[in-house]
């Protein structure tokens, strides 16, 4: 099993085709294998075409563009060598937006995993009206970023917003959440958690419903208490889901754009601007698509490095286990 399998596919049955690869090879089997080869290509073809046209080719093309002065206005200044790259590496906005992306990813992923698990556990067992809880916690996920952003901008409004109104009841004067550099990022994170937690919640709910009741019954017979059962049955049984939820969450947090673009436009002073927003600004507001490509690539390499490091660490751990 490849590293990728080990990381992202926490617990699957062994590949069914494993049996085919061993043993002596007869003429018939060889023919069958050739047929399966062709078949495999045919099935993958639609995906490979779309994949090639709108991913592989743009990726290569983007790399080429990063060495050119391509602009949105259509003018091509041709090959500029490493100019975009050296400029990007020396551009403070690139580094702060990369850092903002990292901060957002960490701050949002942790609650989005832990609170989702908590919510699922809270309503899974023994709380009637499950359809209602499921609906209530999932509903915000249906909202579009436009609606979410407009709504939370009102919530965070220093004078009219609900947040400061409620704080006012307790005699607290709340800050201007989205305009204050010290609270802007955390405000965006809170909105994101509220908005997207429903998906992770559902993944956990599905996983909880797959834990066999017998495990809890057996543990009860052995005299295990609630906490003990939670620690020794629920948590380990949820582990594969947690890995999956965490990976998906990191991937989507790294791509954050929509709500920040609409809530703060990256402000105040670029304090919430994620790298994708900077790429958008450079490319589509500043018309410098070549430069935007170079920044995209720097981001790409960052993610690859972090993921490779993670794969190496986790495969080493699974070898030990």
């Amino acid at each position: 099993m490849t590293t990728a399998d080990g990381v992202t596919v926490p617990r699957t049955s062994p590949r069914p085709n494993a049996a085919l690869t061993g043993g002596p090879i007869s003429e018939g089997r060889r023919r069958r294998r050739r047929a399966e080869n062709i078949r495999g290509w045919v099935y993958c073809l639609p995906f490979l075409i779309a994949f090639g046209l709108f991913l592989i080719w743009p990726t290569i093309y983007g790399l080429w563009m990063s060495f050119t002065g391509t602009s949105l206005a259509g003018t091509k200044t041709g090959f500029v060598g490493l100019a975009n790259w050296t400029e990007a590496l020396g551009d403070a906005n690139v580094w702060t937006s990369l850092a903002n992306t990292a901060v957002f990813t960490v701050l949002s992923s942790i609650p989005l995993v832990l609170i989702a698990m908590g919510l699922a556990i809270l309503v899974n067992v023994g709380l009637p009206g499950q359809w209602f809880w499921r609906l209530a916690f999932f509903l915000p996920f249906l909202l579009a970023s436009t609606v979410v952003s407009k709504f939370w901008n009102w919530m965070y409004n220093p004078q009219l917003g609900l947040v400061n109104t409620v704080l006012g009841w307790f005699g607290i004067t709340g800050p201007a959440w989205l305009q204050d550099p010290s609270t802007a990022m955390i405000s965006v994170v809170i909105t994101t958690v509220w908005w997207t937690i429903g998906f992770n919640f559902l993944l956990y709910l599905a996983a909880l419903q797959n834990i066999p009741d017998q495990l809890y019954e057996a543990a009860s017979l052995d005299g295990a208490g609630r906490w003990r059962k939670f620690r020794s049955i629920t948590v380990p049984q949820l582990a594969p889901t947690t890995v999956l939820v965490l990976v998906l969450q990191l991937l989507s947090s790294l791509k954050v754009f929509d709500q920040i673009y609409q809530m703060t436009s990256g402000g105040p002073g670029g304090d919430t601007r994620p790298v994708l927003l900077y790429i958008y600004e450079v490319g589509f507001t500043g018309y410098r698509l070549g430069y935007a490509s170079a920044i995209s690539y720097i981001f790409f390499f960052m993610i690859i490095i972090v993921s490779l490091a993670y794969m190496v660490i986790s495969s080493r751990r699974s070898v030990k286990a």
Binding site: T2, A4, D5, T12, S13, P16, L20, R33, E36, N37, R39, W41, C44, F47, A50, F54, P58, Y61, G62, M65, L127, F132, W133, A136, F137, F138, P140, L142, A144, S145, T146, V147, K150, F151, Q159, L160, W194, L202, A206, A207, Q209, N210, I211, D213, Q214, Y216, E217, Q237, A239, T241, L244, L251, F257, L276, Y280, F284, S296, F299, I303, S307
Partner: protein, 284 residues
């Protein structure tokens, strides 16, 4: 009766249950209040919106906003375009992903391993690196401001390929083998035997796909343009305030209307959602 409840004494059980009810209810309120606020704002006059005085429900519900919105040809175009985009891109991308996922899970061919690795890599980076060059490609094809430009570049989903592969790894082989023995070809087996058995799972992905493309923002923002040709609901909403000054009531009415199709799909298909997610082989 669940296993967890057998062991707890009845007194402790009920206090625990009450506590959980309270916590769950408070949280549910936090999650649901915005929906109430949205509908209330949609029906309030703009004067009411800007007063700090709290009313449970607007004194004069502004229902006329609905016919006003539907009289706007741009809003109608946006609804139509978003509907087409959601339907076409979701169904096609699921079909493409199902075929590829099936091939990756089932057929021991040479492309399988490198392709799976590629899928994983793509999962890590698609929107970011391919975003700018994809725009150039779409622009050079003359697809800016067209539905083609909105839909086609998003037709492959590495995430869906990954999930379908997981699903088909756990799919019983005997079923397909029976079909092969009966003389069915590759594609016939897939479309008559394998794919129909995938439907509950595919429904879950359909819900997620429809939500995702109905709510898509960044790609339409750069590709859709301002005309009726490819204006989507979300771009319409995001440009609403600048176009119509500070008509918050109208904005939230449009937002409420735009939410209805997603809600409808969700209610119809929601029972598949949890079951479908559970079937992906993510289970412990």
């Amino acid at each position: 009766m669940t296993a967890q409840m057998h062991i707890v004494g009845s007194g402790r059980r009920s206090t625990g249950l009450v506590l959980r009810y309270v916590v769950a209810s408070v949280l549910a309120l936090v999650f649901l209040i915005p929906f109430y606020a949205m509908v209330k704002t949609a029906l309030s006059t703009n004067e009411e919106i800007y007063t700090s005085e709290f009313t449970l429900w607007p004194a004069h519900p502004q229902w006329q906003r609905i016919p006003e919105l539907f009289a706007d040809p741009l809003f109608l175009a946006a609804l139509r375009n978003s509907a087409i985009m959601a339907a076409v891109s979701t169904s096609l991308s699921i079909l493409i992903a199902a075929l590829a996922g099936y091939a990756l899970a089932r057929i021991p061919h040479r492309a399988a391993k490198p392709m799976f690795m590629l899928v994983i890599i793509v999962l890590l980076v698609p929107a970011t690196t391919a975003f700018v060059p994809n725009f150039i490609i779409v622009a050079s094809l003359g697809w800016i401001g067209t539905l083609r430009g909105l839909i086609i570049p998003g037709l492959f989903s590495a995430f869906n390929v990954f999930l379908f592969r997981q699903f088909y790894l756990g799919f019983p082989r005997e079923v397909e083998e029976a079909a092969y023995i009966d003389g069915a070809g590759f594609f016939r087996t897939f479309f008559t035997v394998v794919f129909p058995n995938t439907l509950p799972f595919a429904s879950a992905l359909t819900v997620l796909g429809l939500i995702g493309s109905w709510n898509a923002f960044l790609w339409p923002l750069v590709v859709a343009g301002n005309g009726q040709g490819a204006m989507t609901v979300q771009i319409y909403l995001s440009s609403f305030l600048t176009a119509q000054t500070f008509d918050y009531g109208g904005l939230f009415m449009a937002a409420t209307i735009s939410l209805l199709p997603v809600l409808l799909v969700f209610f119809i298909l929601q029972r598949f959602l949890v079951a479908g997610i559970a079937a992906t082989g993510l289970k412990g």
